[in-house]
């Protein structure tokens, strides 16, 4: 191996899809022992480039070199054999298999030839999970895990290969600050004189922490590569979006005197939620913060009737309502955008138009049961433009959109539906900085029109920047409610890390009486 040769190099790469030139004449260089961040707007071609490297697509033009040697990845397996391991933006997990089975798929420990050794498999997975300090259990079925945990399974799987090049396509989109920190530690341990990491992210704050250099793509073209240490994020952003962005914005229109629109009282579920109560006011953006598994998603699903609540009451405009399904919720003009766009958000095989209009079909686009095709398409086009969804046409099948653009489609669906209460669960997952600003603006506009918004987000900055008030959850409980003025990184984190079930002091602080006073501190904090 020639020490001066870069670990991985791509030159003059081009790739087209029908109606889309995804990449043209792009180059990229990954050095040994570095983390190279790859950034660019949604649809810039980042994932496509990574799929070329990992043998899923073949390039129309261009060459790849690994340690100076030319290579053409022919299949995912081939790329793996060459030492290229990838975490895709969209999960590639088998929901019916367990965590351990997923991690070691294709490399199962055998008990002689054809037979599996499940014990060895679980032991090996337990080792790996322990080593990586991930909150996973080898034998839980992946289908039942939250998005964040599924992401961790992907991470564990990618790291379990003996890889030289580790590609991570938005690994942190579903993660919280704490887990992001864990992941960064893992990456730092991984990189060595023989290895390197390509890291794609839309979270600018983490690039400073993890990346050595940053390569910027725009509209399928190479823009520049900069040293992280020598460049400010503002500069990177303007390279990305071609203009400067304001990033110091504050919540808009914060007022105390609004009337209560939705009030939730004593909501509990069998699995997690304990006595969750909060109020949402007219024209308010109510942020929900918390660590992974705090129960925010579950709260939202219980409120819209997607999951069954054991107890609790919900009032809309002071009147008690019974919501047993999302369809009931829709009747009360409550909408829920799921954090899991692939499973619960999109109809991947349908076109963009169908996806955007589906929830408003019956109220906006139907007369006597017939669809108003033209009106639908006009609206879809309008949202494609205003959210700058990058797609060759509104009739493109949703699955061929880039991840961030898919997310925008889901958002457009809810912006179009005339809801009084919108519950947005991780709405900006995978969305680039520029488009985020656009979405924030739209949300502020909606609030200004008198709509009420619940914004669940794992990006604390986003919550602090948008929310009029913040509800903090931990372990299925509401541990604190903060006004915009009170809310800071520190206060939110304080409430988010209260663990009354394990820690009597925390319980006392929350004024809770625990059923099991014998339990003591387990030292996990």
């Amino acid at each position: 191996m020639d020490g001066t040769e870069s670990l991985l190099r791509a030159t003059a790469v081009s790739k087209s899809f029908p109606g889309v030139k995804a990449l043209s004449d792009v180059h990229l260089e990954l050095r040994h022992n570095e983390v190279l961040a790859l950034v660019g707007e949604n649809g810039a071609g980042k994932s496509t480039l990574m799929k070329l490297l990992s043998g899923i697509y073949t390039a129309d033009e261009g060459e790849f070199f690994l340690n100076g040697e030319r290579f053409e990845p022919a299949s995912p397996r081939h790329a793996q054999e060459l030492g290229i391991s990838i975490i895709h933006q969209e999960f590639n997990l088998m929901p019916d298999l367990t965590v351990a089975q997923n991690i070691f798929i294709g490399r199962e420990p055998r008990a002689g030839g054809f037979f599996l050794s499940e014990r060895k498999l679980n032991a090996r997975a337990a080792d790996l999970i322990e080593r990586l300090q991930l909150p996973l259990e080898p034998w839980s079925p992946v289908g039942g895990l939250t998005v964040a945990k599924q992401q961790m399974v992907e991470i564990a799987k990618a790291l379990s290969y003996d890889a030289r090049v580790l590609i991570m396509d938005e690994p942190t989109a579903a993660l919280n600050e704490a887990e992001v920190t864990t992941l960064h530690a893992l990456i730092r341990r991984f990189k060595s004189a023989d290895t390197g990491v390509i890291y794609i992210s839309h979270r600018m704050d983490e690039l400073k922490k993890i990346a050595d250099r940053i390569t910027v793509l725009r509209d399928g073209q190479y823009v520049d590569t900069v040293d992280t240490a020598a460049t400010s994020m503002k500069e990177v952003i303007s390279l990305m979006v071609g203009r400067a962005l304001r990033t110091d914005a504050q919540p808009e229109g914060v007022r105390e005197d609004r009337e209560v629109l939705l009030s939730v009282e004593g909501l509990s579920t069998k699995a997690l939620l304990k006595n969750v109560s909060f109020e949402l006011r007219q024209g308010e953006i109510l942020g929900f913060a918390g660590l992974m598994g705090a129960g925010r998603t579950e709260m939202a699903r219980a409120v819209v009737g997607a999951d069954k609540a054991d107890s609790g009451s919900i009032r809309v405009r002071g009147r008690p309502v019974r919501i047993q399904s999302p369809a009931d919720a829709a009747k009360h003009r409550i909408g829920y955008l799921s954090e899991d766009r692939k499973q619960f958000g999109l109809m991947l095989e349908q076109d963009v138009n169908a996806n955007i209009t589906v929830s408003s079909l019956s109220e906006l686009f139907s007369s006597f049961g017939f669809m108003k095709d033209r009106a639908m398409r006009a609206k879809s086009r309008q949202y494609v433009d205003s959210l700058r969804i990058k797609t060759p046409s509104i009739l493109q099948t949703a699955k061929y959109l880039s991840g961030g653009n898919q997310q925008k489609v889901v958002i457009a669906k809810w912006l179009l539906k005339n809801c009084d209460i919108l519950i947005f669960d991780e709405p900006t997952r995978g969305i680039d900085v520029g488009a985020k600003e656009e979405i924030y603006r739209l949300l502020n506009d909606l609030a200004a029109q008198g709509k009420s918004i619940i914004m669940i987000s794992s990006e604390l900055e986003e919550v602090l920047r948008m929310a009029h008030r913040i509800v903090v959850m931990s372990e299925g409980r509401v541990t604190g409610t903060l006004s915009a003025a009170e809310a800071t990184q520190e206060t939110v984190m304080h409430y988010a890390t209260l663990r009354p079930d394990e820690n009597p002091e925390d319980a006392a602080e929350l004024g809770l009486e625990l059923d099991d006073p014998a339990r003591t501190v387990d030292g996990s904090r």
Binding site: A306, A327, L346
Partner: protein, 331 residues
């Protein structure tokens, strides 16, 4: 411009795309194959391409075609309906019981039969949507129940419509000279089904549910309600098929029907509708049904020994579907 995945180029079949007729037809799996098969038979045997024989082909498509139309909706939602064959027999018997045994006026009896089919579908829909029984099992159960009830209600004897000569006219009459009513009925049903599937919210929700049932539900759509509607709608077609077959035969045959479900589902699937749901079209289904009847007719016209007919039928279906997949990949 070649792409890695086969499906990439498929234009969205669901509504709204303004393409030329030729382009649209090209989208349907197996359309070219139907043409090729037709042309081959026309050349191979001079008796094939006659007005009478083409009518015979169309006429023989009516019952399977009607069943396949309703089933297309069910399959697009990701479900399946095994009860269509024996359900049709039960509806035919119902028609006989009402019109012959009870003396219900013809029009009312026909309407009643179609609605009775809807009732069977409604029960299927209830079992699938509310009780959450897998569609295969729910409709398998209905298949068995309908088979039994058809025998019970008819006392295992055919019911003859001899005293109601107008009944047979529904199928055999000629509102248009030299053109059997049954074919008109099938055509009208295909048009109605196509309009419903492409132009109405029923159709859109049918696709949505099949594409991603959970996402559709979270979009605020009452999935249970729409599934029940879809199965009920398919049931109406079962009822109509019951009328059409008993009108053709002049009698309600309680023992018939078993096996029709497989043929109807085959027509739907050959026509490009995916059993996984979310994709499909009425035109495709009609093409699929026609491929089967053209092949059956053509092989018989050419006097191929019958034991070979199935062998050839199987191979041609395979080649037809494969060829069309390839053709679509290339364009």
């Amino acid at each position: 411009m070649t792409t890695p995945t086969a499906t990439t180029e498929t234009q969205p079949v669901a509504g709204g795309v303004s393409l030329s007729l030729r382009d649209r037809l090209q989208q349907f799996l197996a359309f070219a194959s139907l043409l090729v098969i037709f042309v081959v038979f026309s050349i191979a045997n001079s008796n094939f391409l006659t007005y009478g024989n083409v009518l015979a082909i169309l006429y023989s498509t009516v019952v399977i075609g009607t069943l396949a139309l309703g089933t297309t909706f069910v399959i697009i939602t990701g479900g399946i309906d095994l009860s269509i064959g024996t359900g049709m027999a039960l509806c035919a018997v119902m028609s006989g019981v009402m019109i012959v045994n009870l003396g219900v006026p013809l029009a009312l009896g026909v309407l009643g039969t179609i609605l009775f089919g809807g009732l069977l579908g409604l029960i299927n829909g209830f079992n699938v949507a509310i009780l959450k029984i897998p569609p295969f099992i729910a409709t398998l159960a209905m298949m068995l129940v309908a088979q039994g009830l058809a025998l019970v209600l008819s006392h295992s004897t055919p019911i003859y419509f001899n005293d109601v000569p107008a009944y047979s006219k529904i199928s055999r009459g000629n509102l248009i000279p030299d053109f059997p009513n049954a074919v008109i009925v099938l055509t009208a049903m295909a048009v109605i089904a196509a309009v419903l599937l492409n132009k109405t919210i029923l159709g859109r929700y049918t696709y949505s549910i099949g594409s991603n049932e959970e996402a559709t539900g979270l979009s605020g759509i009452d999935v249970r309600k729409w599934k029940i509607i879809v199965y009920t709608f398919a049931g109406l077609f079962i009822g109509l098929a019951g009328v059409m077959i008993s009108a053709r035969l002049g009698s309600a045959q309680p023992a018939t029907g078993m096996g029709y479900e497989l043929q109807a589902i085959a027509a739907v699937v050959i026509g490009g509708t995916s059993l996984a749901g979310g994709k499909g079209s009425v035109v495709g289904t009609m093409i699929g049904a026609l491929i089967i009847s053209v092949l059956n007719n053509g092989l018989q016209i050419m006097s191929i020994p019958q034991e070979w007919q199935n062998v050839i039928l199987g191979c041609v279906i395979l080649v037809a579907v494969y060829a069309d997949m390839m053709r679509k990949k290339q364009t």
